[in-house]
């Protein structure tokens, strides 16, 4: 039994998951530390020892919060509305996460997800609101809107890809430029198309109409009965299916292999007869399409409003949040499903924190950012760890007194581990 566990531990995948878990835990602890510091130094009218304790409990388990009880204490349990909203909010970041992950697998850093997301928003909302459902059946409009958004995203993603393939432009820089171009373009588009904006008499200035106004909305697929009181819909199922599709594409098809080969070594891939330029453009187009389809699924939910007036100065956070999702999942498409749901859980926790305590929801954004920061070198820490153990396995030169004691204690604690690692060293 112990041996199988060790075998599992020695697997690269397990180590990757462990590294991600360490990042997550460290991020949550950092969030708690910030909560404690703010609680101790903040306004004593809004923070007490009890509220610090409440805050930390919500940081970790806000998903299970059911509000406050009669005595004002926090109550926990199954909260279907929280669960449903978690799945609802996981959809866009799952798709942008997939987008970043696919690009990473092919050796590209797609930081252009916000722009692609915006292009998807534009295409989807325009088609979904412009084709009258009295003429064309609603499901067809839904499909057309989804395809329009995805296609626009693919084109938008292909631009940095093209520049990279043909002109050697760094895709990170090109993506940053296309992001801000997209922000201004989409702003311009919605400003010109006044018929898409919420009419002033609704009092919702600065918003685009929801697609339900035209009778277009993703089917709930019974999920609303399972998780009543939430915004959940079939989008989450579609997103998971797409994620599995991406997994198959990347790992089980020739195209996926070619894309990954280009990412591993472009020149070697070309030598092997793979069209490297075409594949770079293609992988960016796929990434763009994925990010944009996140926007399509999100806004086709029927009740998601799009605030368009400020997008030229602050890009949608769903786009950037694809980066932590992909990093946490170590760029594995199936992992993205879980990491996006986890990220969205953090989001719900933040919301509960804002509703129930004097802290606010931005604490969860801090935690997410900390996780990204940690995961930027988590793989490295993983490598460092294995390296250290290898050194230990080799005959060590005489260490100082205390170090020797510590090393002895460690060795007695985990003899198998050392043995396993010497095997590792032999393999390497």
């Amino acid at each position: 039994m112990k041996n199988t566990l060790l075998d599992m531990y020695r697997k690269d995948g397990t180590k990757k998951v462990l590294a991600s878990l360490i990042s997550i835990f460290a991020g949550l602890v950092l969030g708690s530390i910030i909560a404690v510091i703010v609680g101790l130094t903040g306004n004593p009218q809004s923070f007490s020892t009890q509220s610090i304790f409440d805050g930390i409990r919500l940081i970790f388990g806000g998903l299970f919060s059911t509000g406050r009880g009669a005595q004002g204490q926090l109550t926990f349990g199954f909260n279907p509305s929280n669960w449903g909203n978690m799945f609802f909010r996981a959809v866009p970041i799952m798709m942008t996460g997939l987008s970043v992950a696919v690009a990473f697998k092919t050796g590209l850093f797609n930081i252009g997800t916000p722009g692609q997301f915006l292009m998807g928003t534009m295409g989807t909302l325009y088609v979904a609101l412009s084709i009258p459902t009295t003429v064309v059946p609603a499901w067809l409009v839904w499909l057309l809107a989804f395809l329009a958004g995805t296609l626009l995203g693919a084109i938008w993603g292909a631009i940095p890809g093209l520049l990279k393939a043909t002109r050697g432009v760094n895709e990170v820089l090109a993506c940053i430029m296309t992001n801000w171009i997209a922000g201004n373009l989409v702003y311009m588009f919605f400003k010109a198309n006044t018929q898409l904006q919420c009419p002033p008499e609704t009092g919702k200035t600065g918003y685009i109409m929801v697609t339900a106004e035209n009778g277009v909305a993703t089917s709930k697929m019974g999920l609303d009965k399972l998780l009543p009181g939430s915004q959940v819909n079939g989008g989450i199922i579609i997103a998971i299916v797409i994620a599995i599709g991406v997994y198959v594409l990347m790992n089980k098809t020739t195209l996926g292999y070619q894309l990954k080969a280009c990412g591993a070594n472009r020149h070697a891939a070309r030598y092997a007869g793979i069209k490297d330029k075409r594949n770079i453009v293609l992988s960016m187009a796929i990434a763009g399409a994925l990010a944009a389809s996140g926007a399509s699924l999100y806004f086709l939910s029927g009740n998601a409003e799009f605030a368009w007036t400020k997008i030229y100065q602050s890009l949608p956070e769903e786009g950037f949040n694809g980066i932590p999702v992909a990093l946490l999942a170590t760029n594995h498409p199936i992992g993205v499903i879980f990491s996006s749901i986890f990220m969205s859980m953090l989001n719900i926790n933040g919301q509960m924190l804002q509703n129930l305590t004097s802290y606010n929801k931005h604490l969860s954004d801090i935690i997410i950012a900390a996780i990204v920061y940690l995961s930027s070198f988590s793989l490295l820490i993983k490598m460092l760890l294995s390296k250290k153990k290898k050194e230990k396995a080799a005959p060590a030169p005489e260490p100082a007194k205390e170090e020797a004691k510590a090393a002895q204690a460690e060795e007695t604690a985990a003899p198998e581990e050392t043995a396993g690692d010497s095997a590792d060293a032999e393999e390497g």
Binding site: I111, I176, M177, N179, W180, G183, N184, A369
Partner: protein, 342 residues
Amino acid sequence: MAYLLQNTLTYTIPLMIVALAGIYAERSGIINLALEGIMIMGAFIGVLVVFSFQKSGAFDQDGAMALMLLALVIAAVAGAVFSLLLAFAAIHLKADQTIGGTALNLLAPALALFLIKIVCNQSTLGMYTGNAASWFMLKKSDFGITGEMNLLQEVFLHKIYPTTYICIVLYVVLSIVLYKTKFGLRLRACGENPQAADSLGINVYKMRYTGVLISGALSGIGGFVYALTTANCASTANVAGFGFLALAVMIFGNWKPLSTAGAALMFGLCQCIAAGYGSIDINGDGKFALSVLAKKLGDSGLDAGAVFRLLPFVVTLVVLAFTSKNSRAPKAEGIPYDKGSR
């Protein structure tokens, strides 16, 4: 004309100083994508300093200049400290610099918004009393000018924030440092060929830390200057993409200070036109030529503000496409320094 120049200058100064921040980091071999995030931190901390000292009554309006200088210095320190996160990950842990920078870009607005809400229970942190113009702006009377002014005086000596002078001086001094001193030469060497630099006894780690720290301090200053001059000394944890625009300025300027200053001026002009095309009177004949152009654009479904805002990015993209084959970017940027790979 004076109005146009003055407003162009307002947008140019933060762009220029932050682009120089980018130059310092990249010339030492570290890609600093976190310029935007550090700007946000600098803006937030600077405004927080102004807010808290005004609240505590430590400075009244007579001490406004001292308060502003203090805020500027603390914003610079905050930027440097914040950029240490990037430096530590990129230099010591050899992490992916783009991801590290992105993390800081996510962290800064989150942290700033979180603290703004804690401090003042709303989403904007402004000055405690008064406004930026009445406290920190220099008028012509401060220079002893009465009566008519010529164009130069009108642009540089009237209704101007002293931060403009500070930034210009800093820019000139630091550009000279980068090109004419031993330290500058060593810093640039670390961005071009760190192995060779190391073999000559230069401590690459130390140089890169210095580069990133200077970069952070300058971005912090740039962030505070942005908040002070364009946002009435208020912080909403958003600098409207100026950090990324500065990145574009730096690329456009070919990583060289003089051409970067030129690029900043051009991009600043675009920003200025985007912000106020309806009220700019170029040749002083009382006609708003740009608003006529804007109306023509508007008739064809284009928003003039957005057009001028996206123009710099398009131009940069085109420039990148045509120059990347023989780009002057530092050769070793983005590559963690590994002593073993000589």
